[in-house]
């Protein structure tokens, strides 16, 4: 009886292992001979990214990579960079680190990309940081404001894109103090490095005990009534939010329902006016009037970049609704194109990293980029934007943040040249 019971699992097990091998081997093919520089041929440069196109985070971010791809179409239609077209391979990770690990390996091993550009999210991108470093893949312009990307010693090929969260938090809080010296500053942050970074920045500006009430939310629980109630009761006048768009809308909406209208100072990651209006619905949207945010990109209807990006959006992105994500995605594209142009006529993985570290990249932001061999973050200056009459636009205030705190700065918008296509010598 015992042998009988043993025999069957064996055959099933053997069959399973064979099947497992066959299943994976079927679609397997031998690794193609490696080109001299992965992803670079005479007429193309293949780069890849991981983005949340599906899943709960997609609502906020799916439009970024579409905008970046549209910008590359614009570049390619105008002859590319050094005569090479940019091919942008977008992989969906659904904001799940397990998926990120899979798709990034696919990009590197199957698609043999030259570089990974603008991989989105702190938890997701953290999960491939070591892998990219071990394989010497340039890991450019990560879409997150975490300080993790700024470790040149350990991750020499990794560069962040966003202004870091501490910078944003400090600027938002400093602006609150500058407009209202008696401001009671409070913080609502996501319960991760985003919220913590914003809080650290606010504390940098107002002092560790200057925060009247500090609340957190978790993305799993879509109810912030208890937190907003606590902030209202603490007498907060200026709330700094380290929230993604959906929760910014939720916080502002919840407070309005309580008949409470404090000042809202919101991180660039959660202050995109068109997106917020969509969340709140047009009838509630007027509560967003006066909403303060920071940005480091030319996301202003009066900017020449904005005007160019709108045209590209109409031409190459099927006229998708223009939001802050459009500005963001196209700016990422511009910054990569500029780096690629600076990497020389025959770019290598080393030469593009060297070009970025050289400090000669300008970007298209409200101040020139600050990349260097020691600093792998580029936006240390942010500009204040306010919603007035339903339009979000920049004010003249800007702040540069260092360890000493946020100090007022002059915005120095990088001008637009050559139809937004980086000039190659």
């Amino acid at each position: 009886m015992r042998t009988a019971s043993l025999s069957s699992p064996r055959s099933v097990g053997t069959a399973a292992v064979l099947g497992l091998t066959a299943a994976t081997a079927l679609s397997a093919c031998s690794t193609p001979a490696a080109a001299e520089v992965p992803g670079v041929t005479d007429d193309t440069v293949v780069i890849g990214t991981h983005q949340p196109l599906t899943g709960p985070a997609a609502a906020g971010f799916a439009s970024i990579s579409a905008a970046t791809a549209a910008y590359f179409d614009h570049v390619n239609a105008n002859g590319g960079i050094h005569g090479r077209e940019i091919e942008y391979v977008v992989k969906d990770d659904g904001y799940n680190p397990a998926n990120t690990q899979t798709v990034v390996r696919e990009l590197v091993q199957e698609d043999e990309v030259f570089a990974v550009v603008n991989g989105l999210g702190t938890p997701t991108h953290s999960s491939v940081l070591d892998y990219l470093a071990q394989n010497d893949v340039p890991d450019l312009f990560v879409a997150s404001g975490s300080l993790t990307w700024d470790q040149p010693e350990e991750y020499p090929n990794t560069f962040g894109f966003n202004a870091d969260y501490v910078t944003e938090g400090a600027a938002l809080a400093q602006y609150a103090l500058d407009t209202e010296p008696d401001a009671v500053v409070c913080v609502l942050g996501q319960d991760d490095d985003f919220g913590e970074g914003i809080l650290a920045g606010v504390e940098l500006a107002v002092g560790a005990d200057g925060v009247a009430s500090s609340q957190t939310y978790s993305t799993a629980d879509q109810d912030v009534t208890a937190q907003i109630g606590a902030m209202k009761e603490a007498g907060c006048t200026h709330n700094v939010l380290g929230t993604i768009n959906g929760f910014t809308a939720l916080a502002v909406g919840t407070a309005a329902q309580m008949d409470w209208f404090p000042r809202w100072h919101v991180s660039s990651s959660g202050a995109d006016h068109p997106t917020l209006v969509e969340y709140l619905g047009a009838d509630v949207a007027p509560v967003l009037e006066g909403l303060v945010s920071v940005n480091y990109l030319p996301n202003s209807p009066s900017s020449e970049w904005y005007e160019l990006f709108s045209r590209i959006n109409d031409e190459y992105n099927d006229g998708a609704p223009y939001t802050g994500n459009t500005t963001y995605g196209m700016s990422v594209g511009y910054q990569f194109a500029e780096a690629l142009a600076a990497a020389g006529t025959d770019p290598t993985r080393e030469s593009i990293v060297a070009a970025i570290e050289s400090g000669e990249l300008q970007g298209n932001g409200i101040a020139p980029l600050t990349y260097s061999a020691e600093d792998h973050l580029a936006h240390r200056t942010v500009r204040i934007a306010v919603v007035t009459d339903g339009v979000q636009d920049f004010t003249d205030e800007a702040y540069t943040v260092s360890e000493a705190g946020a100090t007022p700065a002059e915005p120095a918008q990088v001008p637009l040249e050559n139809e937004g296509i980086p000039v190659t010598e």
Partner: protein
């Protein structure tokens, strides 16, 4: 003090929704002796219908009626066409089929409507009414409490005061005897599912305006918290679902308000674990140990 009062009253309003959802779990448990793990997904489908109707007609009330009708229909169909086919020899089969159903429904909704949160507005203001300078619950919270109370009262009347209710209870507690006495037991099981999913849909509909909006996973956390409440109250006990639902709602509000949002799910987990270990039949159940 003011904060405590505010958190208590908010917690009660959220708890009313929890209690209603927990009650829906109790109804289906009493009728069919199953814990329906597909309750959250089944409850969200009617809310999508309500959303569509409200968007088309502008009337919240038509949407609400549509949600109730869709929930009832869905419950009936799922019991008749799916749950009835599940092999009865293994108690886990029902749970596994329910999990399959969750995957089909949630993925189907995501394919049909996309992953975006759809903003849903409450029919009443959500501004807390102030009593003596202290913010209490909002008119919408009151509305939720009243609806929950009316539905629970109605169901209590149905179960305790009508002949249909008597048949429902009889079919649940002693199916064989009831059959002999002429009660059509399968029909009673179906009716249990009908009532249960309609109630769950109502709870989900009441919940959605307080959150980020409608998405296929909008009721997932509600289900887990309501399951905890139903177990704490005793899966057999409607009164237990009411009291435990309100208590869990208050617990979550207090923990979120005084500790942090991150502490709420572990708190619910801890409560559930303690109750299951110390008194698995629930705090309000009359019957002894449970074997389902």
């Amino acid at each position: 003090m003011e904060r405590l009062v505010f958190l208590l009253s908010t917690g009660l309003a959220r708890g009313a929704v929890l209690a209603l959802f927990a009650l829906s779990l109790v109804i289906v448990y009493r009728a069919a002796r199953v814990v329906n793990f597909a309750q959250a997904a089944l409850a969200v489908v009617p809310v999508y219908v309500a959303f569509a109707i409200t968007s088309a007609t502008g009337s919240y009330w038509l949407g609400l009626a549509a949600a109730l009708a869709t929930g009832a229909l869905l419950g009936t169909v799922v019991e008749r066409r799916l749950m009835r086919l599940v092999p009865q020899d293994n108690p886990l089969a029902g749970i596994i089929v329910a999990i399959g159903l969750v995957m089909v429904l949630q993925a189907g909704l995501a394919i049909a409507f996309g992953p975006d949160h759809r903003p849903v507005h409450a029919p009443f203001p959500q501004r807390p009414l102030e009593v003596g300078g202290v913010g209490l619950m909002s008119p919408y919270d009151l509305f939720v409490l009243v609806v929950a109370a009316v539905v629970m009262g109605g169901l209590a009347l149905l179960f305790n005061r009508t002949s249909l209710g008597l048949q429902l209870r009889a079919a649940a507690f002693a199916p064989e005897t009831s059959r002999l006495l002429g009660v059509r037991v399968p029909r009673m099981v179906t009716l249990g599912w009908t009532l249960s999913i309609a109630t769950a849909a109502l709870a989900a509909l009441l919940l959605v305006p307080t959150g980020l909006g409608l998405d296929p996973h909008a009721a997932d956390v509600l289900f887990v918290n309501a399951f905890a409440a139903a177990v704490v109250g005793g899966l057999d006990s409607p009164a237990g679902a009411l009291v435990a639902g309100l208590s869990v709602g208050v617990l979550v509000a207090l923990v979120t308000g005084y500790a942090s949002a991150a502490a709420a799910p572990p708190a619910v987990l801890a409560l559930l674990t303690v109750v299951l270990l110390v008194r698995p039949q629930g705090l309000f159940a009359a019957r002894e140990a449970r074997t389902a």
